[in-house]
Assembly symmetry: C2
C-alpha cells in the first residue's frame, strides 16, 4: 500500500502520522506547488490542501499523472468537508473523499482511532478501497455522500467553531469584571459531560429554558453597550425559548 | 457548625451532600413553604430556591427568626448568581451570598472540591465566615461582589447554556442528514481541550476565522428554509470575523 499526501498543512501531517502509527511506512508528503516525487504507482493520492486550492491542485495532478509511466490508476481523494466529490471528476479515473472529522493542531498528539472518517467514492470499488484504508487508522469509518458531508461540516461549525467563539465572548465578559476564564472550566466540563450522555436538547438549562424573562432582560441590559453581543444573546435566547415550547407542546400532545 | 439549607431543589441537595462529604453532619434541609425545623441557633441559613422566590422566602425567614429564641444571629445567604446580595438586607442582620458555579443534576455525583464558590458578605466578618465555610467543601473560593457575580452569571449563560443549545441545533442538522450526534463528540472534546489550555480566542478555527466567505455563503444557503438559524449563523460568523480582524490589526500594530 503506497499513499501520497499532497499538502504540508496540519491535516496532511496528521494523516501521515496516523498512517505511520498504523504501520504503513510507504506514505509520502508531496509539495502541492511542485508535485515533486509524485508516484503514479501509488494506491491513493490524498489532496490535503485549502478548499480553494483543491481544484487547481487536482488539475495539476491529472496533468502530471498523464505523463508519468503507470500500470494502474491511483485513487485521487480530497480531505475536505465542505467540498463536493465531483470537483475531482475526470472521466476514466477513480476519485473520492477521505474526510477526517477533527480539528488538527501542529504538535498536538491525537488518538487517531477515535477520529471519525467519512469516505465517498465515485464507484463501489473505490468506496470499498477508501473504507479499507480508513479502517487502518480509525475505528469509526462511515460512508457519507457529498450532501451529508456538507451537513456534517455545517453541524461541526455550530458545535465547535461557534462554541469556541461563545467561550471567547464569555472570557471577554469575565475579564471586564476582573474574573479569569478558568473559573468557568468546571461548569463547561460538566455541561459537556451531560451533552455526552444525553441528547443536548434534553439537558438544556439556563434562564431561556425556564422562560425566566426577568433574568434575560437583566442580562440584555448589561449588554446595552455591545449591540453585536446583545443581538447574539437575544437570538439564542429566542431560539432556546422556541425549542423549549416545542418540546413542551409535544409532551402535552402525548398526555392529551 | 450548624447549617440550615432552605430549599429542596438540586442546589440544596448537592450542597447538603458536599457538607456531609466534608464531615459536617449538622446540616438540615428545610421546606421553604413551612420553614419547619428552622433553628435560630444555626451558624448559616442558605436560601437555595428559585431566584423569583428568594425575596419572599427571606421575608418569611426573618419573621420566623424574630419569634424564635436565639442567642446569636445566623448569617442568611442565598445561592443565586443572578440576584443581588441587597435583596437580603435587613438592618442589624448578617447576610451574604454563597454561589456555587456549577450546573447541578439530580443523582449525578460531582467532585465538589473543584466547584468554584463565590461569596459576598454584608461586612468583613460575614465575608470571612462565608469564606471559611466555603473552603470546607471547595478548593476554589473567591470573593465576588454582586456586580461581578452578575457578570459571572451572564458569562456562564454564554459558555454553557448557549453552548449546549448550539450542540442541540447541531444535532438537529445531523439528524436531517441521517447522521448521529455521536460522530461530533471527538471533535467537541478536542475543541474543549484546546480552549482549556489556551485563551479560546487564540484557538478559533472555522470558515469565519479564516475569512472563507465562500463556505459561509454555502452554509447560509443550506439554512435558507430556517430563518432563525440562518440569523444565528450570520451573527456569530460576523462576530468571529470582527474579532479575527481586531486580533490581526493588533498584531500588525505591534509589527509596524
Amino acid at each position: 500500500m503506497k499513499i501520497d499526501i499532497v499538502g504540508r498543512g496540519n491535516v496532511g501531517m496528521h494523516l501521515l502520522k496516523a498512517f505511520n502509527n498504523a504501520g504503513m511506512q510507504d506514505v509520502n508528503i508531496i509539495n502541492p506547488h511542485t508535485l515533486e516525487g509524485l508516484d503514479a504507482h501509488s494506491d491513493l493520492i490524498l489532496i490535503a490542501v485549502a478548499d480553494s486550492a483543491i481544484e487547481s491542485v487536482a488539475g495539476a495532478l491529472d496533468a502530471q499523472l498523464s505523463i508519468l509511466p503507470s500500470g494502474k490508476l491511483p485513487i485521487i481523494a480530497h480531505t475536505s468537508g465542505a467540498t463536493s466529490m465531483n470537483i475531482l471528476s475526470v472521466p476514466g479515473t477513480k476519485y473520492g473523499v477521505f474526510y477526517p472529522l477533527q480539528t488538527f493542531s501542529k504538535g498536538v498528539d491525537l488518538n487517531y482511532s477515535e477520529i471519525p472518517i467519512f469516505i465517498e467514492g465515485n464507484d463501489n470499488e473505490t468506496s470499498k478501497t477508501l473504507e479499507n484504508i480508513a479502517k487502518l487508522i480509525s475505528d469509526k469509518v462511515y460512508y457519507a455522500n457529498s450532501e451529508q458531508r456538507h451537513g456534517l461540516h455545517l453541524a461541526s461549525v455550530l458545535a465547535c467553531n461557534f462554541v469556541n467563539h461563545l467561550w471567547s465572548l464569555s472570557e471577554d465578559i469575565l475579564n471586564r469584571y476582573n474574573l479569569d476564564f478558568s473559573v468557568m472550566r468546571p461548569l463547561i466540563e460538566e455541561t459537556m459531560r451531560k451533552a455526552n450522555t444525553h441528547s443536548p436538547s434534553e439537558v438544556q438549562t439556563g434562564p431561556a429554558s425556564r422562560l425566566d424573562y426577568n433574568t434575560i432582560e437583566s442580562h440584555l441590559a448589561m449588554l446595552q453597550n455591545n449591540p453585536a453581543l446583545h443581538n447574539i444573546y437575544s437570538l439564542l435566547s429566542e431560539s432556546i425559548i422556541n425549542k423549549t415550547k416545542e418540546i413542551k407542546s409535544k409532551h402535552t400532545g402525548l398526555i392529551d
